[in-house]
Point group: C2
Chain length 282, copies 2
């Protein structure tokens, strides 16, 4: 069964960027989520304690999965099928709540199926990049690139997804991470480098993150690893990220959106409509 999941992942990874926003990718992602949930049926559900004020559980097979948010993960198969349908249609007419529950449930079904079968975190991270990249590409109707040309040398600079809708629009720089930990700085640095190559206000920096939860392996307790002071320092001293979207936003980060220095952290359900608007605003 994990082999089927791996085979679909292989196909997904081999998809060209031109097709990232297309129906073929949506179908592959949906199929992976369905297979993942079949795998998870054979596992046990373990309730986890947490000080975050949110409820979490793990799937336990050979290994125990990362924590899954009870409120965001859709357990009911019929409801999940309905949400997959919305996902397949590019979330046309979907509410922010449906968008976030669908995206969270797709992502964490696959993450958990990978975890219980000891499939490495890199695979889950790449799957998540493709999932979010697909949604954004489909929403704005633009094919991303993963490199930009450095003017003075003509060399390519490898980047996260960048979307360029054309001359009369801002461009989008879209780093995507399952969690940031000590790697958040990379998003700000890449944003700064783009700004220094192409000028300020040309690329909007939008960071999408799944969660900052971590299970303390001794106590089993679910914690969120947050460094709000560092986010604020990057924002005020390195460069400005326009938005940070979380599937499962930590309260400590949401609070930064009404703090100074401000970091505009929001739930992912709002991301797609926001990005469309951000790109058209001038």
């Amino acid at each position: 069964m994990p082999q089927v999941l791996k085979r679909h992942y292989g196909k997904l990874k081999a998809t060209s960027l031109t097709d990232l926003g297309g129906g073929g990718v949506a179908d592959l992602i949906s199929e992976m989520a369905r297979r993942a949930r079949q795998i998870l049926r054979a596992t046990k559900r373990i309730e986890l304690s947490s000080d975050t004020g949110k409820s979490y559980f793990s799937f336990r097979g050979e290994e125990q999965s990362r924590p899954v948010n009870v409120a965001l993960y859709v357990n009911n198969d019929r409801e999940f099928a309905r949400l997959l349908g919305l996902f397949g249609s590019g979330f046309t007419g979907a509410t922010t709540d449906e968008i976030v529950r669908a995206t969270y449930s797709i992502a964490f079904s696959v993450f958990a199926a990978h975890d219980v079968n000891q499939i490495g975190r890199k695979t889950s991270a790449t799957f998540f990049e493709i999932l979010i990249g697909h949604l954004v590409s489909r929403t704005i109707g633009v094919t991303p690139r993963t490199k930009v040309t450095i003017p003075e040398s003509g060399a390519y600079l490898p980047t996260d997804f960048v979307f360029d809708p054309g001359k009369h629009s801002r461009k989008l720089h879209l780093p995507i991470k399952t969690s940031t930990r000590e790697r958040a700085v990379q998003a700000w640095v890449h944003q700064l480098v783009l700004e220094r190559i192409f000028g300020a206000d040309e690329y909007l920096g939008v960071l999408v993150v799944a969660t900052e939860t971590k299970r303390n392996s001794k106590t089993g307790n679910v914690i969120e690893i947050c460094v709000p002071g560092q986010f604020q320092m990057f924002q005020s001293r390195v460069t400005k990220m326009s938005r940070i979207y979380y599937l499962d936003p930590p309260a400590a980060y949401l609070a930064l959106s009404s703090s100074h220095p401000q970091v505009d952290v929001r739930p992912f359900g709002e991301a797609l409509a926001d990005i469309r608007q951000l790109l058209s605003a001038r």
Copy 2:
């Protein structure tokens, strides 16, 4: 025997920053190096192959140590004792060659003794910070700090060692790493943050690194992991590090000192005299 090494390390780590440049720290470091070499006497020396154009070996005890550079590591005990004497006197009158061989041999004796006894890399990294911090503090006669005050909030920003010789001198920002790998970006980002708090040309950024060597665990071959294009990108698009000193400099990085964008990479033997001069230049 590893317990004695650990006990000395504990004392070294507990030393206050005020005493970092003092004789007590020099004595503890020397004692650790001597103990480390006693431990290593019970190990086997394994020659390693390498494509770097340099010769390396490993000590093998319970575990195999990281690669050690044959040309830089002083094997002879009388010669090592002589170099320890020079180290103990703050390298007064020492040649650049003596400085680098003494510092390399002290560092890699301790690293290797840690490695063969499965003492974690964090311990070696902290030892190396103290060793280099001691030498610089002693050379310029200034006590470092490891935080700066953020003007607008009064909060402390944790930093690598920063040295402030007083109002009429530049200050020094001194990140120290056993190797950089994907973490080099941190030095540039912290330098940028200091620049944006205190203004340009106030803090000189000087990065000190031991080596970029790594043993391929399958082939046993010693390689150097270098990303010269990234160093140049950080230098041209993030901010300017004044110098990067290596105990065992990779050729690919030394070449950057005569390239454009320039990254001024030099052998560590020159660091102490250079830093003294850099700080006094205005």
